[in-house]
Symmetry: D2
Subunit: 339 residues, 4 copies
């Protein structure tokens, strides 16, 4: 059987990545796709580098969505806020890639996103889409919120520490470096001009990035709140996020305790890989994959973790497909692991 | 049914690309893979960025090749010269990626490759692996020689001109620009150090590149010999070859004659795309695909053609898989076009 | 003594390059600089990476230009057309970096630039600013037109062939590859976004680039008209232009004739370098310099020349300074050759 | 008057950078330069991109050094250990760019550098070459040890905090990102191949980099010892180092206290620039300069500092020239600030 999919806002990098992944997945059929920038064009015109594409034309965002399909919202925050409640009411399953349905603290949401959240009751229903943390809830879920691209690279290495998190002293420091496709490279801002990015490097939105609150909320899942310092940087590469994470413990924690904990947390996980050293974690090992690689080292009570993922893969479309598989009862790795 | 494959010299970029493509192809099973550099290691260790890999360990080049399998020779020229005759004698089908079995002029071969060709009788049997030119011969063939990465980007735009080639005056000028993975980027030479390639550009092996003779031979397929000037350049990109080709005609040839001829030559071809302008031909449209894109413009009697392909795709592993499909009776695009 | 300079349109890449060069030249004092984009800002604010900068604030383009200064017009074509005649009338020396005063064929000018040339009488007075061709006229000149960035890399290798040009058959083919700063990288177009340039390569404006007519005119200086085919490409590098030039001769011309001619034409030239092979010509050898490097090879009657320069150096600001030196009686290399 | 210089090991990137800087400095005359890799070649052959070069040929390392010259040792650690004592005994002034004479803790030195320090008595005499910390001692000094490229970017932002350092709790965390020319890009290791660096990013030598001990020693200059966590990363850029530094304070420290302290520490410093925000610190503002840019932000008791310099400028040759100027009584910025 084939499930029907509609992709709202499918003309961007995440849309293209999802189409690429679905070209090797026979369980979903895309029946509707929209874009306000390229509507009226065929998928073939917009994505000439894709070998396989459904024979579809981009519709406008506000065109009617066919019944009986699952809807992927790759839309701006306000559009998701507007559409998600209506779609759910009509009985669609929804996976939202915007930041609108991630934070359970309404005041914090409105401080970060600068608009009023008019459907906050849905926060009781929505599941945060990191399968390694919320697999049981995602299975068969009606409404999933897919995490921000930085978030998965930051949340999992901390959350997987389990009870060791209770020994953390002071803020968790997350120093993240993102390729341009993650940082917003499709927008036509001068900041992303070749002459501004190439042979350059800089930090941005220090302590004010919109992903910080969701990292803060979910890295503490099942434990007590943790302080967080988050510094994103812009790499002159196309895709990939590498995060270097610094954690101080109140009391003695040994390297082997960390190892044991990580091995336990990652046991049986297809897409999490614990590498023997943090230096073995490289962007090129995770680009175009759904893997999250992790390595670590300790000195005294300080733990240094390096994690890496593909911001368009495990950081966006790959994880979305992982969630879509779970929502529809497919093997979690279908379309993501070959064959 | 599944055909068995052995890949000799599978530890390099072409080997990895073939493994990636085969992860979406259920008609071949790799049962043997060798490498002299990484033998003893598993595929998973050598190619950490691949989602799906056969559960195999790299053997040495000289380890015994299992019976009843098709052999992919991704080996240096001398190794192919040594192995191909023996394998054919034992009944294996063979596809050779080296330059050893491409030239039908023995003197020219030995001048270019600087060693004696001791199996030149096989030149009567081998088929040159560009399906768009030699499809009927490749179907079911026992022995195919896969073209060099520059060659396909240069041969097809000229050969597809058909009878118009008879009107060509003076040399065909082929100005090619290749990414590092095509130009030999795996070798540990200082020439391919980041500090020598990045923010740099240069020509190399002008009028002496080893692919020039095979371009010369095959671009004239079915027509009279043509003179050739071939200038390869090294681009600071990872993958892709773009060739700008200049042809002068003896007599008036109109843009619409070219268009008609190309439309005819490319009719029904899945992997050849004629674009409306030569400016629309870009590396990023062909990277990670098996497409060859072509565009052209004329002024007076001069024709300017721009072509592009992925040196690891249509320029190497993609075309090899296209050939393997034909050799074994599969759909030509299986594993190359999604779904 | 110090000459006074005004730079109109000094807020871009060429302006910055000229300021950088003048930081090592004590013969010019910049007393006025304008920009419509960053007026009101100090040079220090706009160019934080420059060690030495005059203590000036950017004025608006239309602010009054002080008397007794030489004016550098780094302005769009129409602005140059408007300002140059007025400035010359007031007695200013002028060097114009736009395309407005380069072509002596009015019809061709208006076809290329799409506006009427209302000061065409100045074409009798203006000197084209390639010192290696027009040194005597530039010395003490009142009005110099600085060439386009592609032009010098294409004109000189042909013009320096001297009388051998009379033996050329068919069009001179110039296949040029430019870094982003030359191709227009400051403009905020999506075409120059990191995600469109990086790991990409393409041709643009084939047979329609605005520099083609001036290359055509000046490469034939002192000889008969030559046909031209010009194909610019966009490299994913910041600075530098490499041109590969193909010339067919009607009759036998030997490699040693070319060598003798080039040695003669380049004798005593500080900024022209004839390299032993065309492969030795690399962008990295000319970046941040005022050099034009040339190498060549022949096969039969076909000559392949490779030339390289820095589009912001010998292709723009460096050559402008070379011209300014000649206009004011300084050593031609002052500020360009160190010490 | 002109001081005479000999450069031992001048064939690398630092040598070239020093030659470039000295081309605009009339106070030094290079009379001797050596290289074991390119000896016998002229400077012009080895550095074709330099406009001005002394008319010299590279000698071998062990060739006799002329009397009465200051010696720049751009040599491996062991060579510096061997040569520095002998040269000082003969009366030469010496500036050493190796790591041999930086650490005052002999046990730590031998643990890091894995060889015995046989001239440790010189540690009482040598001055560490950061003028902003040790200017008075460097003036007229006989023996200066130039810091490692990472070190200046890490030491100064901490050391300039002055007495505020006494309030620091836990380790200072320094997350540094370096371009390839700083990380060792000249060595012919596969790690620095284009295919390994481009479109990639990774950490290396976490908690084991040889610059960590000198950062540790000198960032505490004039204060009590501080703990340190140092993580270097390899950027796919040519030049530049950006360090993101995280400091927790034991007690309340306000943003304005930091500002006041930095303004005081940097007052009158030509090459230190305090920027209004940490996001304004970018590699491109410091490349090809001798500047160190610093910006910061606080949340609670945590301070985030971003610093940037050019690893070949303020991180190596630029700072060496600053030191050479001080050693010989020139203006500190001569050759570094234009005009």
């Amino acid at each position: 059987m084939t499930e029907k999919l509609a992709i709202i806002g499918g003309g961007g990098l995440t849309g293209r990545e999802l189409l690429k992944l679905l070209s090797h997945h026979d369980g979903f059929e895309i029946i509707h796709i929209t874009s306000n920038q390229v509507n009226g064009k065929t998928l073939r015109e917009v994505f000439p580098s894709e070998a396989y594409l459904p024979n579809l034309t981009f519709a406008k965002h506000d065109s009617e969505i066919p019944k009986d399909c699952t809807v992927v919202l790759a839309t701006p925050n306000e559009a998701s806020l507007d559409m998600a409640p209506k779609l759910l009411k009509k009985g669609h399953r929804v996976i939202d890639l915007s930041g609108t349905f991630r934070l359970h603290d309404k005041a914090k949401f409105e401080a970060v996103y600068k608009f009023q959240h008019t459907a906050f009751d849905l926060m009781e229903q929505v599941v945060f889409g990191i399968p390694e943390l919320f697999r049981l809830k995602i299975k068969g879920a009606k409404f999933v919120s897919n995490p921000g691209c930085f978030s998965t690279s930051a949340i999992l290495p901390v959350a997987l520490l389990g009870d060791l998190r209770k020994k953390i002293a002071g803020p968790v420091i997350i120093d993240s470096k993102s390729g341009v496709s993650g940082a917003g490279g499709r927008t036509e801002e001068i900041t992303f001009a070749f002459t501004h990015v190439y042979e350059n490097f800089r930090a941005y939105k220090i302590l004010s990035h919109q992903h910080e609150p969701e990292i803060s909320e979910y890295m503490a899942t099942g434990s007590e709140p943790l302080e967080l310092i988050f510094t994103p940087h812009l790499l002159p590469v196309y895709r990939g996020i590498l995060s270097t994470i610094y954690i101080n413990f109140k009391e003695d924690v040994s390297e082997s305790e960390i190892l044991t904990q990580y091995q336990k947390s990652m046991a049986g996980e297809t897409f999490l890989r614990l590498l023997p050293t943090p230096e073995a974690v490289e962007l090129r090992n995770v680009q175009n994959t759904n893997f999250l690689d992790i390595g670590f080292r300790m000195r005294g009570n300080t733990l240094v973790i390096v994690s890496a993922l593909d911001n368009l893969g495990k950081g966006a479309a790959g994880q979305a497909l992982q969630n879509l598989n779970l929502m529809h009862g497919y093997d979690e790795g279908k379309g993501l692991v070959g064959r």
